[in-house]
Amino acid sequence: MTAVLPREAPPTELEAEQEEEVHAPRRRPPWLLLLPGLLWLALFFLVPMITLASMSLQTGSLQTGYALTWTWSTYTDAWATYGDQLVRSFLYAGSATVLALIIGYPLAYAIAFKAGRWRNLMLVLVIAPFFTSFLIRTLAWKIVLADQGWVVSALQWIGLLGENGRLLATPAAVVLGLTYNFLPFMVLPLYASLEKIDPRLLEAATDLYATPARAFWAVTWPLSIPGVVAGTLLTFIPAAGDYVNVQFLGNPGSQMIGNVIQSRFLTVLDYPVAAALSITVMVTVLVLVLSYVRRVGAKELL
C-alpha cells in the first residue's frame, strides 16, 4: 500500500475549486438564517430597552412632554419610596422558589425513576395547567382559598388557622399562588436532568458501600444540579416580576414591585419612576442570577 500513491502532487485547479466549495459555507456566518431573529430582537427588545433606560432619566409630564435631563435622583427617590415592595418581591419570589423546589424535586424524581409506564401521563399532567390561562388559574385559587372555602375550614378545624383566620388576601396566599403557577417551570428542567442520570451510576454507588440516602447525596443530587439551577431561575425570575398573584390573592400591604410598576405606568402615568423601577428590578435579578449560577458552579448554563 505504501509503494504507489502519487497523491502528493499539488491539487489541480479543479480540485482546489471543489475544496473551496466544500468549506465555503463554514466561513460565512449564516446571516440569512439569523436575520429574522436579529430583526425581531432589535425591534422588540433593544429599542424598548433603550427607550426604557432613557425614560428613567427624563423629567416632564405627558402634557408638557419629556426631556432627557439625566435626573439620577429619580432612582434614589424610587428606591426610598418603594424599597419595601422591592425587598418583598424578592422575598416572595425566593420563598415561592424554595417551596417549588421542595415540592418539585420529589415529583420530578418520582416521574424520572419510579413512574414506569405512567411516566408520560404524569408529564402531561404537569404540563396540563398550561392549557388554561394564567389569569383563570390564579382566579381559581381565589375560590380555593376563599374564607368560606374548604381549605380554610379544614385548616381552622385542625387548628392551624384561628377562628377568624383567613388565607385570602394574605402574603401566604401570594406565595402559594406563585408556587403553584411556576411549579411546572421547576419540575420540567428537574425531570430533564434527573432522567439523564444513568441508573448504573446508582448501582455503582451502592456497590461501593453507599446506602440509598448516601448514594442520593453523592451521585443523584450533584448530577441534578443543572436542573436545579435551571428550575430555580425559571421560577424565581418571572415570580420576582409578577403582579397578578398579588392582585388576586394579596392585599395592599403585600404589594410587590410588579404592582407598583404597573400602577406607575398605567394608572399614575409616572413614566420615569416606573422606568427606573423596571431597570432596578432587571439589574438586581441579573446580579442575583449571575452570582447564584457562579456559586453553584453550573457554568454550562452561561
Binding site: L201, E203, T206, D207, L208, A210, L223
Partner: protein, 383 residues
C-alpha cells in the same frame, strides 16, 4: 491493597441459585463453587444468565431461590453496600462529576475512611494512572476509564471482584493488552476474580477456571485446556473453538476403545462408552484432523479416516482450511497448519480426513437440538 493472604479469603459458593423474571428463567438451579483467590470466568452468549448470576452475587438482584455464600456466611439477602464484593461494570459507570481521585476514593469515603490519599495514590499506581488523578472521567480514553473502574473497585480490598464484560467496549488491541494487565493485577492482589464474558478467547486467556453457561445452567466447568480438549457437549465443543461432530452407533467395545459406526465407517473412540447398538456421538477438532490422499496413509497412528470430497479450500496465512464433504453429506472442517510441508489438496479431489483416535472426544448429547448448536463458523480460526 489486599495483602494476598488467602487465609482472609473465603470460597464463593452458589447453591441452587435460581432467578426468574416472570416466565423467563434466567438462572436455573446453579450450583457452583468458586475457590478463593481464583480467576474464574462465566462464559456464555448473551442471555445465558451469566450477568444475572453476577448481579445476584453483587446484590443488585435478589435470587428467586437458592443461596449465595461466602465461606459459610449466607449473603443472599444482604444489601449490596453491605457485601465484601465489588463490581467493575460493563460500561464502567464512573461518576462523571467526580475526579478520578474522588471516583477511586468513593468506596473508602463511604466506609468512613478519612485519609484516602495514600491508598488512592497506590491504587492509581497499580493501574498505571498516576498523574491522572485530577482529571474527570470524560477526559480519559476507554482503556484508561476501564482501569479507573478496576482501581475504584479494588481499593476496597473486596473478597470477590466481579467483572461484567469489562473489556467489551475496547478495541481488539487494547483488549488483548488489558487481558494481560488484569491477569497480572489479580496475581498481585490475590482477590477472587469472577469474570463474565461472551468472548471465549478472553475467558481462555485470563481465567484459571471457566464455567460455560447455557440457558441458565452450567454446561461444563473446567480449566481452559480441559474445556477445549475434552468438551462434554456439542454446545461447548462449538462455543469454544470449532468442532466436527459425528453421530453413530456403538458396534464394539475393543479393549480401551469404543468402535462407533458412522454411516458405515468404523471409527475408534478412546475409552469405553455405552453398549453395542446404542447411539454415540463424538467430536474432533479441525486442527487435529489431517487431509490425506485416499490411497496412502503415511502415519499408522492416524487410524480413523473418513473419505470425502474437498469442497472448499481457503488459505488464511496461518493455516489452510479445508471443507470436506463426506459420503453422507456432512461437511467436515480441517485446519492444516502452514508448516511448510505443503501438499495442498485441490477442490473436487477425493481425500480421506484422518485423525488419531485419542484426539476424538465423546459427546454426551446425541443429536443437535436446534438452538444448542451455534452456526458452524468456518471463518473463525481456532485459537
Amino acid at each position: 491493597m489486599p495483602d494476598g493472604g488467602s487465609g482472609r479469603l473465603r470460597d464463593l459458593r452458589l447453591a441452587g441459585l435460581r432467578k426468574t423474571f416472570g416466565d423467563f428463567v434466567a438462572v436455573d438451579d446453579l450450583d457452583l463453587t468458586i475457590p478463593a483467590g481464583s480467576f474464574f470466568a462465566l462464559l456464555g452468549p448473551s442471555g445465558c444468565g451469566k450477568t444475572t448470576t453476577l448481579r445476584m452475587v453483587a446484590g443488585l438482584e435478589l435470587p428467586t431461590s437458592g443461596q449465595v455464600l461466602l465461606g459459610d456466611e449466607d449473603i443472599s439477602t444482604l444489601r449490596p453496600y453491605k457485601r465484601p464484593v465489588n463490581t467493575v461494570f460493563q460500561s464502567y459507570a464512573l461518576f462523571p462529576h467526580l475526579t478520578i481521585e474522588d471516583n477511586v476514593a468513593f468506596g473508602l469515603r463511604r466506609r468512613g475512611v478519612k485519609d484516602t490519599k495514600r491508598a488512592v495514590g497506590e491504587m492509581l499506581e497499580l493501574v498505571e494512572l498516576s498523574g491522572f488523578g485530577r482529571r474527570k472521567p470524560g477526559q480519559l480514553s476507554g482503556g484508561q476509564q476501564q482501569r479507573v473502574a478496576v482501581a475504584r473497585a479494588l481499593i476496597n480490598e473486596p473478597e470477590v471482584l466481579l467483572l461484567d464484560e469489562p473489556l467489551g467496549a475496547l478495541d481488539l488491541k487494547l483488549r488483548r493488552q488489558m487481558q494481560l494487565e488484569l491477569k497480572s493485577i489479580q496475581d498481585r492482589v490475590g482477590s477472587t476474580f469472577v469474570h463474565v464474558t461472551h468472548d471465549q478467547e478472553e475467558a481462555m486467556t485470563m481465567a484459571d477456571t471457566i464455567a460455560v453457561m447455557h440457558s441458565g445452567r452450567v454446561e461444563q466447568l473446567g480449566t481452559p485446556r480441559e474445556l477445549y480438549e475434552r468438551p462434554v457437549s456439542r454446545y461447548v465443543a462449538n462455543f469454544l473453538g470449532q468442532s466436527n461432530c459425528l453421530d453413530g452407533t456403538v458396534v464394539d467395545l475393543d479393549g480401551d476403545d469404543t468402535v462407533v459406526d458412522v454411516h458405515g465407517v468404523r471409527l475408534a473412540l478412546p475409552g469405553r462408552h455405552g453398549r453395542p447398538g446404542q447411539p454415540q456421538s463424538f467430536g474432533v477438532r479441525p486442527e487435529k484432523a489431517v487431509v490425506v490422499a485416499s490411497s496412502a496413509t503415511t502415519d499408522p497412528a492416524l487410524r480413523n479416516g473418513v473419505p470425502g470430497t474437498v469442497t472448499d479450500v481457503s488459505f488464511t496465512g496461518l493455516s489452510t482450511q479445508y471443507v470436506v464433504r463426506t459420503g453422507w453429506g456432512q461437511e467436515l472442517a480441517v485446519f492444516a497448519q502452514n508448516d511448510g510441508t505443503d501438499a495442498a489438496a485441490q477442490r473436487g479431489e477425493q481425500v480421506v480426513v484422518a485423525w488419531r483416535p485419542e484426539h476424538a472426544f465423546p459427546l454426551r448429547d446425541e443429536l443437535p437440538t436446534g438452538d444448542a448448536e451455534p452456526a458452524p463458523a468456518l471463518a473463525t480460526a481456532a485459537p
